[in-house]
Symmetry: C2
Subunit: 224 residues, 2 copies
């Protein structure tokens, strides 16, 4: 089955303290979205990469690809008002008989092994959601109180989240206009059991400025 | 009120793939436990630093302090079979009329601001537990099933966890022989409400090898 990826890059730079969208910030000299795209290009998605960007950022991205001479083939489409709407727009460019990964644009460090593991497991079982254990203690808030939560029974969820395309399309078509924080939640709501696979602690989501520094150090360690 | 800290350093290096205890691994050229001790020395705990180490590591630590010419004053005491027993041993060296921080030996990056915030808040309210939001999606495992959990209502818990010494001592004396994952849990079990304060994403716990690399990059960025 052909591998597709929908890369969702809708974040603003506000939490970074910068007006540059997070996905365009430089990681070791190049916009981090380029790292993300390349990791899927190398993992068998070549020619089948759909990047969802806010409409107002598509011009800037076009310029960046020229400036950085970025030639990895990908299709840019405009996002919606919410993450779910953006994914839905992306999915409309994915054929039904394929396997699709939905991935955060600001996770530039998913390894080839991780991406392969997710695609392969999804082909077998219908979906694959990378997860890692919680290493710190966890507490649960209820009003102005909080109580201990058993960290052993929780998992931190990452992307790429992989699905059979026609099943994810169906799940999204039934999900209505509510916005979900990830695709596993949409898929679960459509009645599917979720298949967790082993994630990677280095597969970080770049959300605040020091994450960019951490991403850089992980990248450097890999290259040496 | 005088500030004390009990630094609990009982981890082995097995998850690191090394036989060196985690707390002795080199971070920017020095055992990471030295970084941890210094951060509390600078935060008003000078002379009141109790380091709990497994008995079998105390000789190695003594050698390391000589090798690295480490002169920051601290008291080394032997740990117990469990984390809770180690904390209890540490607390026996803390006077009742003081404020005490319990801190993970492998969290070398707690900032001065964070340590001050925790001590000050604990003096006011009786306890202070640093917490950060969950940025990734979260799922809950039950048997072979798993379901989405609302990440908004959870917090990731860090150390230093600060308390009025006599109250924490009492909580530990009533906690029995069960081992708890952190001190907030012991304190909560004794009937206290837990006061969460703002933690720091850079205040990481070094548990696997790449955390050491991340810690180093954070340290370098601070120094430049």
């Amino acid at each position: 089955m052909k591998r597709y990826v929908v890369i969702v890059a809708g974040g603003s730079g506000t939490r970074m303290g910068t007006s540059t969208p997070k996905q365009f910030l430089l990681l070791n000299g190049r916009p981090l979205l380029m790292h993300t795209i390349e990791s899927f290009d190398k993992a068998g998605c070549s020619g089948n990469i759909i990047v969802v960007l806010p409409q107002k950022e598509t011009g800037q991205w076009q310029q960046l690809t020229e400036t950085y001479n970025f030639n990895t083939k990908h299709t840019v489409i405009a996002g919606g008002m919410t993450r779910s709407e953006s994914v839905r727009n992306g999915l409309s460019h994915v054929p039904a008989e394929s396997i699709v990964a939905i991935h955060d644009g600001v996770r530039p460090l998913a390894s080839l092994e991780l991406i392969n593991r997710c695609f392969e497991s999804a082909i077998e079982t219908g979906n694959a959601i990378p997860a890692i254990p919680v290493v710190d203690s966890l507490r649960k808030i209820a009003g102005d109180k909080n109580t201990v939560a058993d960290r052993e029974v929780f998992r931190i969820i990452q992307t790429p989240q992989c699905f059979r395309s026609h099943e994810l399309k169906k799940a999204y078509s039934q999900a209505g206009s509510h916005s979900f924080s990830d695709d596993a939640t949409v898929f679960e709501k459509d009645g599917h059991a979720i298949n967790l696979v082993e994630g990677e602690r280095t597969n970080i989501k770049v959300t605040v400025m020091h994450d960019l520094m951490i991403a850089s150090s992980i990248l450097n360690a890999r290259e040496h």
